[in-house]
């Protein structure tokens, strides 16, 4: 399929912050032409950064090729190459950055480093039409409540320790559950939770607009080992408690900023129960509820390609010599020139 239209510009985005390697291609108008994702799923345990990076290097060629085939454009049609510059796991980030640098140099196009967290917000806005939302971004690595104010996305609340998705993943692993492509741990827990009936008391920790999940996780795992409750009831109670916490802080941020939209994004956004909770508070504050489609909820290259376009259009280019990865790049450090 030939796609190239006269005068149209294209952006290629590489995402490799954690366990997913993905390549996305978008037009400068925000049309997503390809979004190919390859997930690294260890047989046992969590993500080993080096093993994940090895996976990324192995599949990179194939994923790139697929993205070009799917989009119908040629590498030489690209106007810009973008990549996830951080935050994330070092070896994984470096693998993606190396590929991006090579592509940009070879095809002689500008390189744009993108903040992964901002990309999750921007793809959510693009896909749902949200203009100026309070965003709850929940994934395996992040739990952030943010909103735009005076040139930057400001963080109103975040986790004080582990991320919400991480809490669910570790619990699932401790319960001996397995995940597979298309059915990550979060989805497995969600399935068990649907059949849960009993609300088991678990630590509920909200500090200001921040949350903490480590105590909750420890308590849930301890109960799991005691075998006094069914996995269904425990999954249900864990989800209800953890989701109530993030919903409470999102509502606080909503009341505080009086924004008119609430956007749910990141991997955990796919959870129907969480969606319904956030929808409830949005309604209560007369705000629109938006949730990112699941293809763009998990880590993906399309969000990088699109955020790269926004940055590039505002003159933000990353010279190769300054394209080192930033493992701990907070989203509020980025000047967001494209939002007024």
């Amino acid at each position: 399929m030939k796609r190239k239209k006269a005068g149209e510009s294209y952006s290629l985005g590489i995402e490799s912050t954690a366990d997913d390697f993905s390549v996305g291609i978008s037009t400068f108008n925000g049309e997503i032409l390809a979004n190919i994702i390859s997930a690294y799923m260890p047989e046992e345990g969590g993500i080993h950064p080096r093993e994940a990076a090895r996976h990324h290097a192995e599949v990179a060629g194939k994923v790139l090729e697929e993205a070009f085939t799917k989009s119908g454009i040629k590498p030489r049609n690209l106007s810009v190459v973008t990549f996830s510059q951080g935050p994330g796991l070092g070896p994984c980030l470096r693998t993606g950055a190396t590929i991006a640098r090579a592509l940009a140099s070879y095809f002689n196009v500008p390189l744009v480093g993108v903040n992964h967290c901002i990309a999750h917000i921007e793809i959510g806005k693009l896909e749902t039409g949200a203009k100026d939302p309070i965003t709850l971004y929940v994934s395996g690595g992040n739990t952030i409540v943010s909103a735009f104010d005076s040139g930057r996305y400001r963080i109103f609340g975040e986790t004080l320790d582990i991320a919400l998705g991480n809490c669910l993943d570790v619990f699932a692993r401790e319960a001996g559950l397995r995940q597979r492509v298309g059915m990550p741990f979060g989805a497995v827990i969600e399935k068990f939770a649907v059949d849960g009936k009993k609300m088991i008391p678990l630590p509920y920790t909200v500090k200001g607009m921040d949350t903490s999940f480590s105590g909750l996780l420890t308590a849930a795992v301890n109960l799991l080992k005691k075998r006094e409750h069914t996995l269904e009831d425990l999954s249900y109670s864990l989800q209800e408690t953890a989701f109530s916490m993030v919903t409470e802080v999102t509502e606080r941020a909503l009341a505080h900023t009086e924004k008119k939209e609430v956007l749910l994004t990141g991997g955990v956004a796919a959870n129907k129960r969480l969606q319904s909770m956030i929808m409830t508070i949005a309604k209560e504050h007369n705000a629109e509820f938006r949730v990112v489609p699941s293809e763009f909820a998990i880590d993906n290259g399309a969000m990088i390609a699109w955020t790269g376009v926004l940055a590039y259009k505002h003159g933000m280019i990353t010279p190769i010599e300054k394209s080192f990865v930033k493992l701990r790049w907070r989203l509020e450090e980025v000047e967001v020139l494209w939002v007024k």
């Binding site: 400001r154 963080i155 004080l160 909200v206 200001g208 909770m277 701990r328």
Partner: protein
């Protein structure tokens, strides 16, 4: 009693202006949250409704102005308290001169110091939870997330939250304000405690997912 007038629909509670025995009062009602299971919801609302007035009363003893509590109805998750006529510090910080801002923040720090010295953690230190009255007294409200402890960890988190609130809402003068808060805080607790608390804050910040200062890691 006249029909209460909704003055603020917060996330956690709704505030109404009401009349109670010929007195203008604020009625704070923690309405049920539809999104969470009713058992959890009831636990949270009842606990906070009972807990908050206790801490407010303790805060008074520590020398920190708080509205006087008139009535607590745990079953209805409702508190009736004195109406403080004044302005939220949140609004003031952006409006006043630099020196007034500094003296406000210094005062805030002193009051936080008094709370901590007495073993009270506020739990939600933001500039919207502080009201300046006509006499120049700063009232602290919203103790629902507070606790009684003198632990360094809790003090650190409390001040960290204050800093975070300044960063998200008063980003133009975050540093200047937080420095003044710390100066006020040390007037009460002394330099050594302040050093320990500041160290703790740095430790808490390093625990965050994406913080450059995290130990032993390089870019």
């Amino acid at each position: 009693m006249k029909l209460p007038l909704l003055i603020k629909k917060g996330a956690e509670a709704s505030l109404y202006l009401a009349e109670w025995h010929d007195r203008k009062v604020v009625m704070k009602k923690r309405l049920p949250k539809e999104y969470r299971p009713s058992k959890l919801d009831e636990q949270i609302r009842t606990y906070r409704t009972i807990h908050e007035p206790q801490l407010m009363h303790e805060a008074k003893k520590a020398g920190v102005p708080t509205p006087t509590i008139f009535l607590v109805d745990a079953r209805d998750a409702t508190i009736i308290m004195e109406l403080i006529e004044g302005k939220q510090v949140k609004q003031l910080l952006g409006e006043v001169s630099r020196s007034e801002r500094q003296s406000l923040c210094l005062k805030m720090g002193e009051l936080i110091g008094r709370l901590h010295e007495y073993g009270i953690i506020h739990g939600d230190l933001t500039t919207s939870n502080m009201i300046l009255d006509a006499e120049g007294k700063i009232f602290f409200v919203d103790f629902g997330l507070g606790e009684k402890t003198k632990e360094l960890e809790a003090r650190g988190v409390d001040l960290h939250l204050m800093k975070r609130a300044l960063q998200s809402t008063h980003f133009r003068f975050t540093e200047e304000c937080f420095d003044a808060v710390v100066r006020g805080y040390s007037k009460v607790l002394g330099d050594e405690t302040v050093k320990n608390v500041l160290d703790k804050i740095r430790e808490i910040e390093r625990r965050g997912r994406y913080v450059k200062e995290r130990r032993g890691e390089q870019e």
